[in-house]
Symmetry: C2
Subunit: 325 residues, 2 copies
Amino acid sequence: IPKSIPALAKNPLTPEKIQLGKMLFFDPRLSASGVISCNTCHNMGLALVDLQEASIGHGWQKGGRNAPTLLNTRFNLVHFWEGRGEDLAEQALDPVQGAMRMNNTPQRVVATLKSLPQYVEMFEKIFGGDPRLGDPVTFENVGYALEAFVATLITPNARFDQYLRGDENALTAQEKEGLEFFIDKGCATCHKGMNLGGTEYKPFGLVEKPGADLLPPGDKGRYAVTKTASDKFVFKVPSLRNVELTPPYFHSGQVWGLRDAVEVMGVVQIGVTMNEGEMDKITAFLRTLTGEQPKVEFPILPPNTDATPRPTPGITAEKAVGKYK
Amino acid sequence: IPKSIPALAKNPLTPEKIQLGKMLFFDPRLSASGVISCNTCHNMGLALVDLQEASIGHGWQKGGRNAPTLLNTRFNLVHFWEGRGEDLAEQALDPVQGAMRMNNTPQRVVATLKSLPQYVEMFEKIFGGDPRLGDPVTFENVGYALEAFVATLITPNARFDQYLRGDENALTAQEKEGLEFFIDKGCATCHKGMNLGGTEYKPFGLVEKPGADLLPPGDKGRYAVTKTASDKFVFKVPSLRNVELTPPYFHSGQVWGLRDAVEVMGVVQIGVTMNEGEMDKITAFLRTLTGEQPKVEFPILPPNTDATPRPTPGITAEKAVGKYK
């Protein structure tokens, strides 16, 4: 993980855009109810997760999958558990519309933003200027601003990074042995690259199919995107960065202990039975992947005006069915 | 409002205690569900309110009353809409236990804190040291830490304060006329003192009883505390500090426009019919009560351990009845 924030290829990072994205990230008025913000499920103080099996969203509905952290997510090549988002900007707009998440519509989000002069001014300054592009207050630009903020959420200087940079003392002997096991046992075959994961999809149960609690039969993973039989129960290989901070584990969120998760992976993905000492050492190594957590000032949000749409915390049946869950 | 933070009489403010209080304020693990923190209903970015008619709490239950801001609340003499809290520390612990708020128990809060070594260390440092006082990780001390943090949430330098300090140009001619009306019409009879309110209770409907939408018959206000007939429909006179930031208005949260709220007050509390210009001027004056909003860094919270109680977002019937609503 780099120590400073790298540029984004398609979305130039500016301090103004990052600030706008931060405000939108914390603003519960992005949800229909006015109760839920991005920070509700991706908590800035909790490694950008919510420590829930599956997130509680609009109407106290429990979602189908565990919320992944947004830390270092920009270094992932694939997003969501089944890879339905093209990039972070698209990812960011998905939960805003999900009936079980924030239950909002692009039209209502834009109406809310347009009722708040401070936001309008920021959108104009950041995205305006070229009349061919039309009105700068768009749902798409909400995505770009959120992507810009989320792109700043990186965790440099994990002890593993210090070790990679040549500091032999950054890891203990036990952790170094854990790293060796991590490579030798085959974990690193999938959990590879800067994020130790986040680069590809794999069937959950490569060697042995997990039980229905860990792999609910109703959630077929990437098959929902590709409709290809071989993609049934295929999910993203998640990053292991900061993994000790982000229980519970797997897309189903049913395993709370990190060491238990290591054991499950050994059995279902690799087909090895590890002894206690091996699992302890791998777990110890995984704890060296925790980096410096980003610190942000809580943004002061624009006050409501008479034109701001009122919160609508009710649940409507027609929104509660559909592609989101 | 003073420019620097005054001491509390019974709860010495230290940087460590304020920091602990801030962490607890933002920690959703204070709720049974692990979803709701103090910041959910008292949003740091939204003048410590949630812009809801009544707060949405545990199980998406809608509470009975509008959430008051915590800004400058330390300068109030009475707390809650009907004055059931003795001080801020007691106030802070009430919603943690409310079945429609955070739905937690003191025992479970303490178990959660004891599972998180960083919190234990902080409690020991701040509240420990005297063995006669016993274990420093107590629910009561959670209240003192929260009180210490909330005591820092003050909004100095409102334009009205600048005017009071002698800057004649801090208010426009219209706002000064509004201030005169505010005093002459009788608003200042109840909305008095440093917070322009927060010092006493008054019947809502002193002159004319409001309709059932503004004054729901089921909520008898201070009568619930005192059981005295004359306290039926008696509520706290709320502070008007930052009032433009905190719609909707009144304990029932049914009036969204500040000018509409002024009109209601004129009719039901004072018994005057004001003309448009008078109401506009009073409203303009009220907008000068907005001070500098406190800025805080979002605290990094201690990671879960294997001993941390799991979130329990379910609703149990026996908790859902009782004194809280």
